[in-house]
Amino acid sequence: MTAPELHLPVLQVVVPMLIAPLIVLLRPQGLAWAATTAASLLSFAIAIQLTTGVLGGHTYQYALGGWEAPFGIALEVNSLSALLLLVLTGASTAALLAGKASLDRQIEAHRQPLFFSAWLLALAGLAGILVAADAFNIFVFMEISSLASYVLVAGGPDRRALPAVFKYLIMGTIGATFYLIGVGLIYMMTGTLSLADMEIRIHEVAEQRPILVAAGFITVGLALKAAVFPLHVWLPNAYTYAPHAVTVFLAACATKVSLFVLLKFDFVVFQHNLLGHDVQFAAFLMPLAVLAILVGSAVAMFESNVKRLFAYSSVAQIGYILLGASMVSYLGLSGGLLHIFNHALSKGTLFLAVMCLSMQYANLQLEHLAGAARRMPWTMAALVVGGLSLIGVPGTAGFVSKWYLLTAALEQGALGMFLIAVIVLGSLMAVVYIWRIIEAAWFTAPAEAPPGAQQMRTEAPTLMLVVTWLAALSNIWFGLVTHVPRELATTAAANLLRHLP
């Protein structure tokens, strides 16, 4: 391996983090956006390079400043982090590239440099969580990304974003503090913060109460940050009232990064050390996952604001990911991890299409979108592709992960039958809520148009549309050529389960 390649894990964090303060100085119109997009593209390139290395069987270890692990700060990139880094940097780049026109409209010109600076800090923080190899740095990066994303969500013109972001801030901070308490208790018992050392040393003290309490605090705290049902109440409003481009970015990756930490802690640190942890983990999270799928989808079926509809659908999709993980089997976990990737693709496409719609429709209530397909045929076609992938129609990305989940459920015996019913029911409800949008856009005549008048075709800006379609086509591409995400997800699942029989 060449010398620059060795530094890729740290560059993943350092590039956006160092460019962020410089962005504030770029006052001329559009320059801040251009620099942010360039930094995000560079991060995406780094993530692709890391993924190539990981696919070649390499795990990146990095000692910051040359200080080796017990004293220095260690970074690690394995197949699980590579999968999420791809999702994260890809979502950020797509949202920025497509979002120029939308952001220009929603963020005043003089506040744009500050806004984009916060964007890059959020990107750096989230990337930091993914590459950090010790528990305390994960906390610090988590707070960097959270603080920056509160700013992003509150940045839009809709004043309802403010109470939403206040709720997000309160719940996010409680989640992070719970995590900090858990880490503190583990440090007290093991004397280490590095996840790798913790994994070994925790074994000697596994039966003592502080460790059990720590496991509880960490699981609940991270579940709060990951919007696991019933701790999801901050999510719908935050996603609905955020600027549209921010919704694309955060919906695709923010909750999943917390889920990544949850899985890492539960599987790597606790699973094989605490007696019966796998049973408790499944018994605690599986009912929540099932409820998330059913309740999230059911609320989405009756929701009339398109953005809020997709936000509730996200709650349901987090349920699928968690359901896969809570089966604690190779197939289940692979399916769950694969769903992280595929849901980011489909929900990213859907929110990109919503952003296109917002260029022509100020009000995103369903009844205002009547006849939208006649005005914006390309946008609506992309939305349908994303919707099909969300439902899990064969030939799209969503099908692959749902197939994994179904196969994994088959292994579970009688319980599996119930889980299959839940997955199928959840998908049917997805058909219903996607259909409600299709029905409004295609089969309802627009109210204000005079009869017989030719509808004007007023599409979204070209760049936005092109990116949206690239995202839509990637749903089909990764539905047919499944090699890369599947390889990453299955390797990561095998890696997480390496200690279990």
């Binding site: 305390f136 906390f139 610090v140 707070e143 603080l147 509160y150 700013v151 509150a154 004043r159 309802r160 403010l162 109470p163 972001v165 206040f166 801030l169 309160i170 901070t173 409680i174 992070a176 503090t177 900090l180 308490i181 503190g184 440090y187 007290m188 913060l193």
Partner: protein, 118 residues
């Protein structure tokens, strides 16, 4: 007595719960933020407590004097970081409250919900 022997952990738990109660039960947004600060301070106490070693002295390394028992410096370093994080969170939260007051004219949660429902 075991209960009194670990009283500093009781202080941590009680302070934590006072803060948590304020966050959950108070309607005023600023009182919620005060609660959040108390909640976070409790965790600082937990970390400071665990770094104390009985009979330990300040961890200043000296070649001439050996065999000293040192307190653990790491949790204090960690908690300095966490204090910074806590201050940033409070500052940002207060900033949001100022914006809410500008837009809605109130800092009471129930009144904001009432205005949004209209």
């Amino acid at each position: 007595m075991e209960f009194l022997g670990i009283y500093y952990y009781w202080v941590f738990v009680v302070v934590l719960m006072i803060g948590f109660y304020a966050v959950v039960a108070k309607v005023n947004l600023i009182k919620k933020l005060i609660g959040l600060s108390i909640f976070q301070s409790a965790v600082f106490l937990l970390y400071i407590t665990m770094s104390k070693v009985s009979g330990g002295t300040a961890p200043i390394f000296n070649d001439e004097i050996t065999g000293l028992l040192y307190s653990n410096p790491l949790p204090q370093v960690l908690i300095l970081t966490a204090i910074v994080v806590g201050i940033s969170t409070t500052a940002l939260g207060l900033g949001i409250v100022v914006r809410i007051k500008e837009e809605y004219g109130t800092t009471e949660e129930n009144e904001i919900q009432e205005i949004d429902r209209r």
